[in-house]
Symmetry: C2
Subunit: 264 residues, 2 copies
């Protein structure tokens, strides 16, 4: 693909370029961009020029570049995330005003939990989630909820892999995990203390979409030493039902509702 000696298509290179920006590197010089993306300098300049022309990148007053407004606009006009975010936000604010720690909304994407919204104290010590950040499925209560309501075939596939043990409390044994997943489906929530960092504890519940499938997980993170985490569950449950209804959910038609990843 493409005339490149490295054999990469333009599109992949553009992804490399945009991907070189992150929270800690929101702007940089073109040369720095070339280094971070690993592309030849000349090539980087040529591509950046084009991207600037389209507004996908923008030039700062100090000549550095950053991700452009137009790119944000393109995505925000059509992405699947947007509807979910908009439906969820008011309810998340409600939860946040009661729980006070940190409230997140996550979906399942390529075997990880992708957090699409988070509110709470900016640098909460007990919460390592970020918007657009990813965490492993078996290391988060959100992930376990999403997994619990996934199609059995997907669960089998996932559990067949070897899983990293983050803390003493992390579950990695397939059979043990299966038992937990069953428990989550039965109770309707997951409460997992210290499975990724010892100090924090997550409680998560499922959010349903139009097709009665699970499309996201709503979760709060609290310090592990909190008296009784389960007292948080009712708040989360009602909020999750509110979000589900805003997404077009018609109430549980009874019966186990599996699979996620569908439309909503």
């Amino acid at each position: 693909m493409a005339n490149s000696s490295s054999g990469e298509s333009i599109i992949r290179r553009v992804v490399r370029l945009v991907g070189a920006f992150d929270d800690a590197h929101r702007t940089m010089s073109v040369a720095a961009l070339a280094r971070r993306s690993g592309l030849p300098v000349t090539t980087t300049y040529r591509l950046v020029d084009e991207l600037l022309g389209e507004g996908l990148l923008e030039r700062e007053p100090n000549a550095e570049v950053r991700v452009g407004t137009r790119l944000w606009e393109l995505v925000s006009r059509s992405s699947r995330m947007v509807g979910l975010r908009e439906a969820a936000l008011p309810f998340m604010e409600d939860v946040q005003s009661v729980v006070q720690h940190s409230t997140t909304l996550g979906i399942l994407d390529s075997d990880e939990v992708l957090y699409i919204e988070r509110i709470g104290s900016r640098d909460s010590m007990v919460d390592i989630t970020k918007v657009a950040g990813r965490l492993p499925v078996h290391g988060t209560s959100s992930g376990l909820v999403l997994l619990a309501y996934s199609p059995p075939a997907y669960q089998d596939l996932f559990l067949s892999r070897s899983l990293e043990k983050f803390t003493d409390a992390t579950l990695t044994e397939p059979t043990e995990l299966r038992r937990h997943l069953a428990g989550i489906r039965q109770r309707g929530f997951a409460s997992m203390p210290g499975i990724i960092v010892p100090e924090s504890s997550g409680i998560a519940v499922p959010v349903f979409g139009r097709a009665n499938t699970v499309v996201a997980a709503l979760s709060v993170v609290v310090p592990r030493n909190e008296e009784n985490p389960a007292t948080r569950v009712p708040v989360l449950m009602t909020a999750a039902r509110g979000i589900s209804r805003a997404l077009g959910w018609r109430g549980e038609l009874k019966g186990a509702l599996r699979q996620s990843n569908g439309n909503f």
Copy 2:
């Protein structure tokens, strides 16, 4: 640019493709995408394949395509918008809980107001703004606030163009507009009834960034027949100050603070 007979670069074509999606067309068949984007069918299939490979587009169960998760993720990790949005949201919720109609946050982008956040009733009759939607500067109170605090050179340039008259109340005369802009700077807010649609009235105040420049406008839209719109101003003002402070604003150092579009 690219081997195309139409003489367009790949990047531009990708923008055309992604831009073909909007709120009303979140998914479509590849052939439909080719029609909407105006690209040759074969070319569209080839590009879509590549984009699918990168995760920038995704395939629906019914074989249609939509904007992909990965694209959202790339943008949300680095865009300038994100910080602004996160800082503003809590305060916007506060305003919304009091004013009840519809609260928006807009920035100035290529001679238009780009709304980067909006909360309120989903299909409010009196408000035509959408997230990632655009409206003309002189047709919105947000736009006039942003213009009022822009560098004089930019104001001159803007006012030298001929402006569309949307309603009887729309201001299009340069001198008249200048007088209004001065009034906005003096009072610290804009209240413009029916300048884009007759039924609604907007009230907007500036949001300041770290460099003491105006980076956004916070606004509420209310029905025009409301008794006294100016009673909304204090609520907006305090919220805007809160947002500004969250952005690193250090309080007004006195004196007129002009120009926007800087970092924040």
